[in-house]
Each structure stands twice: as C-alpha cells, then as structure tokens.
C-alpha cells in the first residue's frame, strides 16, 4: 500500500507543486477575475441584507424594538430569504467558480453559461427581495398556504427560488466543464479539489431539480395553471434537507483549500481518501431527511424510528473531513518542531491570519452545532423542541459560525488575489471571528434553553397577555444580546472584506504558505480523535438532559391507536 507511506503519494505531491490558490487566482484571465468579483459582490450584498434583517428580527424578538405583526414577519421573511437562500448560495457559486478556475491555468471554461448565470441570479435576487418586501410575507419557505389570498406573493417567492435554481445549474455546469478540462493531460487524473468541486456542483444540480419539484407547482398555481399545491410542505422538507447540507459540504471543501493556503499543509491521508470523503456527502445526506418531519401527523411511528437511526449517519462526512484536516495539521505542525504537550501544537497555528482564524472558529462552531443537532434528530424529542426557538438557536452555529465564517475566510483569500488590495486591519479581522463565536454561544444558549422551555420559533409576541411561563422573557433578552454581539463581529468582518474591494490599501496580498506534504513518519495525531470523543460525550450529556426534562413533565402522552 504505497499510499499509506510517507511522504504522501504522487497525487498529493502534484497538488502541492501547483503553488497557492491565491497565486493561481491572481493569474486568471481578466474576464474571469471580473466574473468572480461580480459573484463575490452580489453575494456580499445578500449578506448585508441578511445581517440587517437578522439583527432586526432578533431585536424584535427580544422586545427591544416594537414591530407590528406584518412588519415583523416581513423582516423575518427577508432575513431567511436573503441570508439562507441568497447569501449562502451566491457565496457558494463564487467559491465554486473560484476553486474551479484555480484548477487550471487557462481559467474558466463555458463562460457564456456563467454570464447567463449572473443575469439569472441577479434577477432572482431582485424578484425575491422585492416580493418579500412588498407582498404578503410567506417566510423563506414561500409557503403557498399563507399566500392563498395573494397569489402574486407565491409567484414572486417561488419565481425567485426557481431563478436561483436555474442560476445554480448554469454555474455548476460551467464549474464541471472547467474542472473536467483541467484534468491531467496525460493521466486524466483529478486533484482532490477538482473532484470535490465536481461532487459539489453535481449535488447543486440535483438540489436545483428538487427545487423545481418543490416550487414549480406553486408558481403554476399562482398563474392559474394548476391545482393548489397541497403537498408543498413535504416537497419543501425534502428540498430543504439537501439545501442545508450543501453549504456544509461547501464549507468542508473550503476548509480543505484554506488549510493548504494558510498553512501549506496537504492531507496526510492522500487525495484519494479526500475524494471518498467528499463524495460521501452524496451517500449520507439524502437518505437522512426524515428528521424534519418528525412532528408531521402523517408520518408512521416506524418511519420515525428509522428516520432517527438514519440521521445518526448524517455527521459521518463532516466528522471524517474534520479528522483529516485536524490530524494533517497536527502532523505537519509537529514536523516543524516538537511543541510541548498533547495540544501545544495548536498554539503554533497561524491564528493571526484572519482567514485561518475564521476557519478555526468555523471548526469549533461546527462541533458545537453538532452537539445540539444530535438532540434534534431523536424523534422522541420532536414534540418537545421541533418548531421552538431551539431550532434557530442551534442552527446559527452552522449558518453563521461554520458556514458564513468559512465563506468569508475564502473571500479573504480570493479577494486580495483579485483586487491586489491588502487585508484590512489583519489583527482586528483575526479577532472578529472569536467575537462572533462568543455572540453565538450567548444566542445559542439562550435560544436553545428558551426552546426547551417551549418558546416557539417565528413568534414575536410571546407574552400571551401574561399567561406565558415566567422564565421566557429573560431568555429572549439574552437571545437578542447574543445576536447583537455576533452581528457586531460579523459587521466588522464584512466591512473589512468590503475594504478589500473598494478603497483599501493596495499591497501585496497576504503571503500564502508554500504547500508541502504533511507528516512525520510514525507521529501520532491525537487531537482530532480526542475532540470526537469529547463531542460524543457532550452529545450524550445533551441527550440525557433532554430525556430527563421530558420525563419531568406532569403528563402522560400515548398515541391514540399506535399501541394496538
């Protein structure tokens, strides 16, 4: 088995020899750099909107600003639409195109597809935001039930989502063509990153098809061309499950690129193994979608139990990728010297580099999110926490801490390479992800506790004229304070990123590390495995805690007929 010997195999060496991503991006043809910058700018616009509406939502939920019901739900719709659909997906396009282009010295192939993609995506963004701003708020899932009296709202929201899907197909096809053409001329081999982009783009296309399935009937109904989409809720759940794992897969791929870029470390496990890990998302994610439906009355108990069991597998790709990256970093760092103790090597990582710091926070945030995601996949807990603030409380660890921080880290590498402007205030920029993490911990802790106590999500006035349980209000204030903290950190990061686009100092982009294969023969890498053990311990603790809360309720609940 040559691949498990050091130094790492030939494919790894080839990846290391290509030089840093930032240099490859800087060397792209001018038109490609323009296109990439275009995607970056549009996605940042969506982030600005998502951040602003998110903060407004949080302040309203904390009782710090008063909004009438219509404005409150409009702001929530705008937040979910801007942040989830447009920011997370436009940023993915920017990164996917950037990583694909970086695979080849000749730059992007199929440029007309990309140009069409820009047009379609920008129109979709305008349509979505305009509809959310002006018509009946349907929330970001564009629920047609809520728009029976306002078919134009349904048409606008569904239309926006469908344009997003079309734009994703166009740009993904271009990415696929680009990485396929960039294969080794002689052997036809792909790099791990090229392969990852291929899997990612493929997953995006499949999800776009699911989006057509979910939203086309709504659009047709709104135009008077079809029956009312009674199955909208189910179609949405299937789509949504894929939709929220795609950003996570993109995050892991970006970590892979960032690790190489900011530390010079390539995988100690060979690029073949990375390919297996990347493609495992396609195996483990789609079958695990049931847990969003545990509260649905038309789901059989046996399906619930199976769904719970399957959901246990959903973390496999992410945890494996986490181990590959952390263990490779540990081996590479130890190879440079022998820092004291089990964890001393962590201090030697380039924490002063804003991109690395954001990635580090993203990894921590992913682990925190996983602890609580695994509470949610237990079907017995659905009647306790589904549809409560527990859900947004935990998933912002992923949406903001993991995914948004990672995408911004990617931009911190790509933008200087595109504009030639230096990173603004690198020390401040390296500190901000930690502020975001602090805010998220406050937001998450208060939100999840509130959810566990029954505070509903998507509900602005939870006083219920004094009938609400006493502890709710204080937790909502904490929730909003946490939001203010992470919104501040994010706003400063965003400002720094914008300064690299306009008005920032022209300078040499932050030096990327020369890649080199990782490894010390015979060295151990304990940190990753210890983190996984700790993670499982925390999951177990959180699960036991939730079971105990459930058992403490002074009520016996039994299904009416299931026992027969």
């Amino acid at each position: 088995m040559t691949e498990i010997t050091f130094p790492a195999g030939a494919a790894n060496q080839a990846e290391a020899d290509r030089g840093p991503l930032s240099a490859r991006i800087a060397a792209l043809p001018r038109v490609d750099r323009r296109l990439l910058l275009g995607f970056v700018c549009v996605s940042l616009l969506a982030l600005v909107l998502g951040l602003g509406f998110g903060l407004t939502t949080a302040l309203a939920r904390g009782g710090m600003i008063a909004l009438d019901a219509d404005s409150a739900y409009r702001v929530l719709t705008l937040h979910g639409t801007s942040a989830f659909f447009w920011w997370l997906y436009l940023a993915q396009v920017a990164l996917m195109i950037g990583l694909a282009a970086g695979e080849s010295t000749e730059g992007l192939k199929a440029r007309p597809l990309i140009i069409a993609g820009v047009v379609v995506l920008v129109s979709g963004l305008v349509l979505s935001e305009g509809t959310a701003l002006l018509r009946t708020p349907l929330l970001y899932d564009a629920n047609p039930d809520l728009g029976r009296e306002d078919p134009r709202a349904v048409a606008g929201m569904a239309g926006g989502h469908l344009l997003l899907a079309l734009g994703l197909v166009l740009t993904s096809l271009a990415a696929i063509v680009t990485v396929l053409r960039a294969r080794d001329r002689v052997t036809g081999a792909m790099t791990a990153m090229g392969f990852g982009v291929l899997a990612w783009a493929g997953f995006l296309i499949v999800s776009a098809i699911a989006a057509v399935n979910a939203f086309l009937p709504n659009l047709l109904w709104a135009f008077g061309r079809g029956a009312f989409p009674a199955d909208a809720a189910t179609e949405w759940h299937i789509l949504f499950h894929n939709l929220h794992y795609l950003p996570l897969m993109a995050t892991v791929l970006t970590w892979y690129a960032l690790t190489q870029e900011t530390t010079g470390t390539t995988s100690a496990f060979g690029s073949g193994f990375s390919k297996v890990v990347f493609s495992s998302y396609l195996v483990f994610v789609p079958p695990t979608s049931l847990y969003h439906m545990f509260l649905e009355p038309n789901l059989a108990e046996s399906v619930r139990v199976t769904g719970s069991l399957l959901s246990l597998f959903v973390s496999v790709p992410t945890l494996t990728a986490f181990l590959v990256i952390v263990s490779s970093l540990e081996l590479a760092t130890r190879a440079k010297g022998t820092p004291a103790g089990l964890f001393g090597w962590i201090g030697r990582l380039p924490w002063g580099n804003p991109a690395f710091s954001a990635m580090g926070v993203a990894i921590v945030s992913t682990l925190l999110g996983l602890v609580f995601a695994f509470v949610l996949i237990q079907e017995k807990f659905a009647p306790l926490i589904s549809d409560t603030l527990f859900v947004p409380g935990y998933f912002h660890f992923f949406a903001v801490g993991a995914v948004t921080e990672t995408f911004l880290a990617g931009f911190l590498v790509i933008i200087p390479a595109l504009t030639g402007r230096a990173v603004w205030q690198p020390r401040l920029m390296a500190a901000m992800p930690w502020l975001v993490l602090v805010g998220l911990v406050i937001f998450g802790a208060c939100g999840m506790l509130a959810g566990l106590q029954g505070v509903p999500r998507r509900t602005f006035d939870i006083a219920y004229d004094g009938a609400a349980p006493a502890g709710w209000h204080a937790l909502m204030v904490g929730f909003a304070v946490g939001a203010m903290v992470f919104a501040s950190g994010l706003a400063i990061e965003l400002f720094g990123v914008l300064r690299m686009l306009v008005g920032g100092k022209r300078g040499v982009p932050m030096a990327a590390m020369a890649p080199r294969p990782a490894g010390v023969p015979g060295g151990a890498a304990w940190t990753g495995p210890i983190a996984v053990v700790l993670l499982v311990a925390l999951m177990t603790g959180a699960t036991i805690g939730t079971f105990e809360v459930m058992r403490s309720l002074p009520i016996v609940v039994v299904g009416g007929h299931a026992g027969h």
């Binding site: 809520l146 219920y464 993670l535 177990t540 002074p554």
Partner: protein, 225 residues
C-alpha cells in the same frame, strides 16, 4: 521508504472515528427510544415501562387512508365526522363562562346533540373519574384561535384529544413551564393523542406554526383541577 504509521494516522482509524456520532445510539437505547436487538425483543414498545411516565410520541398516523377507518373503535375520523362531533362536543360541554368541561357520558351511541345536557349531572362526572376510558376532547385550530380555547380537565383522567386544523397548518403546544408538549396540525387531517395530566395547574396552549398575521395571538388555556 515506508515507516509504520501510528494508528491514529491510519485511514481506517480516521474513517471509523468519523462514525463516532453513532455512539449516541447507546443513550437512545438506554432510554428505550431505539430498538436494542441484543437484549430485548420488545424494548422499543415499552418505553413507558422503563421510563416511568416518559412520553411516547405515537400519534396515530394513518388517518389519510380511508381503508383504515373502522379498524378499531374510535379510529381515524374523517374531517366531516370530526367537524360534526366537534360541534356536538362544544354544545354539550360548554359552561356559562364559555369554557368547556368535558366529562364522561354514559356510552356513545345515538344521542341527540342537546344543549340541555350542558348542566351535567354529578353521577356522570363521578363516572368520568372512576373509569379509565379516555374522555373524548375535540380540538380545532383555525386562523386565529383554538376551539375550545378554555378547557377544564381533571387530574388523572385520560383524555383522548382529537385535533385538526381547519384552514392552514397550525401547531398546538401545552406549556408546563419547564418544557412544552407540541403537536403539528395539518388541515383536514385528524391527529389523535391520549393525554393524562398528573398535576393540577393552569397551562397556556399556543400555536407553534406560523399561520398568518394573527399567529401570535393564537392561544388558549387548559385548567387542570
């Protein structure tokens, strides 16, 4: 040349650790929340036996299938039948202050919906306490209220909640302070749940699924005595 890898840096080890999340299965099984094929043949059915009065989330699920109706007494209700019984339920048990206090009635068969029944006799109430047969409660959620929105129930008495949404999806959640118990209600689909309250108290009931501009105001009260 190759030197042996430390086991922590082997791909097999890393791949196996990647499945670490499955370790949670042990905890689930310990709480009777997932099947344990090695020790018991019926662990998953006996959550209550192991877990004291642990809740089971086992609402009946087959209402959508008409072929299932009539399979067992009190089985799946059609929306039409639900609506009829709901109206009858309100007429029968509504009290002067507008709250609804369901009590056991002698058997089920043909009885006219009759408001004279509202001033129920004590014998029937006593009967309601002594029997373990659940008392039927019909609970309707619609934009933007619950019907009934004030329920008076008794400690220790099982109630069979038949619940439905009339227009769009709603939720119904009972607040206990330390946590709530939530169901999702879909339009025209009857969800059945047996509830027994073990302590006296007053509980907020509120909607947990955004259903339109009046969602925040959608609430009721359950008083348990």
């Amino acid at each position: 040349m190759s030197q042996e890898r430390h086991f922590t840096t082997r791909r097999g080890f890393v791949a196996a650790m990647g499945f670490g999340g499955l370790g949670l299965y042990v905890t689930w099984a310990a709480y009777g929340a997932s099947p344990l094929p090695f020790f018991s043949t019926h662990a998953s059915d006996d959550a209550d036996a192991h877990g004291g009065h642990m809740m089971r989330m086992a609402e009946d699920t087959d209402h959508a299938d008409p072929s299932m109706s009539g399979m067992h007494e009190g089985g799946p209700l059609s929306p039409v039948e639900f609506t009829r019984r709901h109206a009858e339920f309100l007429t029968r048990f509504q009290e002067a202050d507008g709250s609804v206090r369901p009590v056991a009635v002698p058997a089920a068969p043909v009885h006219e919906p009759d408001s004279a029944m509202a001033g129920h006799d004590q014998a029937a109430i006593k009967h309601g306490i002594s029997t373990a047969e659940p008392i039927e409660v019909y609970f309707l959620a619609g934009r933007f209220s619950f019907e009934p929105d004030r329920l008076k129930l008794r400690v220790g008495q099982p109630y069979r909640f038949q619940m439905m949404a009339s227009d769009v999806a709603h939720g119904a959640s009972i607040a206990f302070g330390q946590a709530s118990r939530i169901v999702r209600l879909r339009p025209d689909m009857v969800t059945t749940l047996d509830l027994t309250f073990l302590q006296a108290g007053t509980h907020l009931v509120y909607c947990t699924v955004y259903c339109g501009p009046g969602h925040d105001g959608m609430r009721g009260l359950i008083t348990v005595v």
